[in-house]
Subunit: 308 residues, 2 copies
């Protein structure tokens, strides 16, 4: 079943211990779409400027991502500049130029409205809620957010959380959202805010899913589940790792007939796999040349390295 | 098969977000012994002072730990004072009073010499090597070390590493020992220093094992293996978590007929399980009342929460 993803399509300028890159294709919706495209049809909704060229669009269409929902506006695309020189696990933001993204008002194309799976990448929660309302018939909604919205716009974020089947955030965001420093207690507090399930990402150490009694059709709450990551020889650029995790996770979920605990677990493994590709080169470089055979191979590797 | 463990038997004064405790029973050999005692016979070698009372010894003997190798010396036992108020994952050392430990020269009792499994807890590598030489017939040797020995006494540590079947250290120690910041490359560099296998502990996020072609009898190098930890409602006192992990790991290994990849993996899960009990109360409190049924239950839980 197809996924509609709404979020940023952007250019990133990056410095990491492996080098420097100027204005490479990035953005949460881009990374998400590419990763999810290995599992299901993806339809992307975003806004770009004059600097978004056919060659950039082709990165997505080459993976059969439907780009008809990418609006063109006058001006430049969203641009983010970040450095990982101090810590590969935490970017220092050097510049955020919203450009055409500043006035982004997502409009879901009519032909996308029948999609059953919606992913709300990290954007203004007011827009996330608006998109959810446009896509009333979506049977499953997953989403991301970030410290900025949690801290400064909590009251706008709360109604979004109540719409989510799966919220994907990292450790720091879970602590901030819950006010709890203990991981398990933080997760329990976040689930009380409304999402049916929660995935907390631990960067290079994997992720943990927490479930409410509303996570699955049988109404039974499950114990947490942990998915590992693959040890990698080199992390070139961590940008987009979380979005690629989300794409692998949600792409697999959407490819399956129903969300069972087994599907959820397997989806987390695919999330880890897609995240592992994302970080091996700058921007979308590594994902562009990733084959389905490589995805399958890493999935088996991840399973082998974590199962008794 | 029985294990001989050589290391500190100590008193710890602790402050954590959960409270303050003065001079509770601790020490690497103590935590290791209690955890390993659930799986096999354990014989402990250490030194204590006049403040080590029958009630302290009884904590070990109640778990059938053989304490005949605990030497009594005049003076006070090793005392460590630490605080976890800033960060539950990293202790601030407030005081280290070596006391009788300053002149510790471990002497393995004759009746212990036939033990096939030796664990060298974190002590001066010169003593670790000496113990290894006393226990020439031990067929398997595992050990721990710390940043102090890696940094200031590397040349003394290197011959110990070459004696080890399994080295257990944490992320920071692996980086320091290898000079590599990437986890996988750090592990590969550490294995080149001599240990047949390496377990790197990631604190609350689990552990990763790395193997050389000398890890198992078949001469085939295995891919890394990752074991998760259990999400816990409250971490009261992290002291001894690593030693309890080592005790669970090595205790299980010693209880099995041979070290196969399957045994190694299962042992890491038992390591996580024993570490999870250790941190739930101050000192040895939680482990003292842990039952074998609880160990089995958590093992199954850990398996369930990490397997597809």
């Amino acid at each position: 079943m197809s996924i509609v993803v709404v979020g940023s399509v952007a250019f990133d300028s990056l410095e990491t211990p492996s080098g420097v890159r100027e204005r490479v294709l990035g953005g949460a919706a881009t990374h998400f779409s590419l990763a999810a495209s290995y599992f299901t049809d993806v339809r992307v909704v975003g806004v770009v400027g004059d600097d978004f060229l056919p060659e950039h669009e082709k990165v997505m269409t080459a993976k059969c991502v439907d780009t008809r929902g990418i609006e063109r506006a006058e001006g430049k695309s969203f641009h983010w500049k970040g450095s990982y020189l101090t810590d590969l696990n935490a970017a220092d933001t050097l510049a955020t130029d919203l450009n055409v993204f500043a006035t982004f008002a997502p409009k879901i194309p009519t032909e996308f409205l029948e999609s059953q799976y919606l992913f709300l990448a990290n954007i203004d929660p007011v827009l996330q809620l608006d998109v959810r309302q446009q896509m009333k018939s979506a049977k499953m909604v997953a989403g991301d957010t970030m410290n900025y919205w949690i801290g400064a716009h909590r009251e706008k974020l709360l109604p979004v959380l109540r719409e989510l089947d799966v919220l994907l955030i990292n450790d720091g965001e879970a602590r901030m959202l819950s006010g709890e420093s203990n991981g398990l207690r933080a997760a329990e507090a976040v689930l009380k805010l409304g999402p049916k399930s929660l995935i907390v990402k631990h960067g290079e150490y994997g992720s943990t899913a927490y479930f409410s009694e509303r996570s699955f059709a049988d109404g039974v709450a499950r114990k947490p589940f942990r998915a590992p990551t693959l040890p990698l020889e080199e992390v070139v650029d961590p940008t987009g790792a979380g979005d690629s995790f989300a794409g692998g996770f949600y792409g697999y979920v959407a490819s399956q007939p129903a969300l069972t605990p087994e599907v959820f677990r397997t989806a987390m493994f695919y999330g880890s796999v897609m995240g592992s590709f994302a970080v091996e080169a700058f921007g979308t470089e590594r994902m562009q040349r990733t084959t389905k055979a490589e995805v399958d191979e890493r999935f088996l590797h991840l399973r082998e390295m974590s199962h008794l």
